[in-house]
């Protein structure tokens, strides 16, 4: 085992769980002495990936399962968001800023994930599902002053 900590979440593909996923991963990440801004970024990335699985992967059907795996390496958080939904036929195109297959949406999800995280990797097989793997290095904030923090 090379990672310091591991959390896996599995939940139904309903919008209520976007916030649950965000909060859970943020609580997990807080073990590292990270900044508020880093936590905001991580929440943002989780929110985009999970929303994509709900809306695009599962077309809004509420009875499917989304799996998030979070691993803490020394100073790096790795997050994987997985669905077994429709998949993405053209990943490169899907990741272009402003591209969306849904006219109601902005096509900024992947673009936000890339801004918030250090790396974003997408694997997808049409008809099988999509896995988004993101990493972010966490630098302890020099402004944080935790004299007695455990």
């Amino acid at each position: 085992m090379n990672y310091k900590n591991l959390l896996r979440l599995e939940f139904l593909s309903v919008p209520e769980n976007v916030g649950v996923a965000r909060v859970s991963i943020a609580a997990f990440t807080s073990q590292l002495d990270c900044t508020v801004s880093q936590l905001d970024d991580i929440k943002g990335a989780v929110s985009e990936a999970v929303s994509n699985s709900i809306i695009h992967g599962y077309k809004g059907e509420p009875h499917h399962i989304i799996t998030i795996t979070a691993k803490l390496w020394d100073d790096t958080l790795e997050i994987t968001v997985e669905d077994t939904g429709t998949g993405i036929p053209d990943i490169k195109r899907a990741m272009q800023s402003g591209y969306s297959t849904n006219p109601e949406r902005l096509g900024l999800g992947f673009s936000f994930m890339r801004s918030f995280m250090d790396s974003v990797r997408v694997e997808s097989i049409p008809g099988k599902g999509t896995t988004v793997t993101m990493t972010k290095k966490i630098f302890a904030s020099s402004l944080n002053n935790h004299a007695y923090e455990s």
């Binding site: 919008p15 209520e16 976007v18 905001d40 943002g44 929303s51 809306i55 949406r105 902005l106």
Partner: protein
Amino acid sequence: MQVELEVNGRCLIARLSGEIDLNVADNLRAQLEQALNDNPNVRHLIFNTRNVSFLDSSGLGVILGRYKRISTHGGKMAFTGLQDPVRKVLELSGVTKLSYQFSTEEEAVTNLEQGGMGSEL
């Protein structure tokens, strides 16, 4: 999420609070559309996001959808009370460039009303 709506002159002020994501997008969209339908003389939109702790692209989509509606009639969009998480999303999406930012709602109302009546801001 909570929404407080107020019409001031030709401005619709929407005071949002909480987390604006996919889970509340339909609700927020419905409330804003209703307010725009009920107040046909409203031209501009002001979002007070002081108490918004989270905004993602689903939430931003709802905001931009309403901007699209008012902008076809020359309406403008402004934000007040911008906090870091919201500011970042507005910057990343380029929305800062097509909207106005003010410190207070009053400033926003005054400026949008003047801009609407006279020259563009």
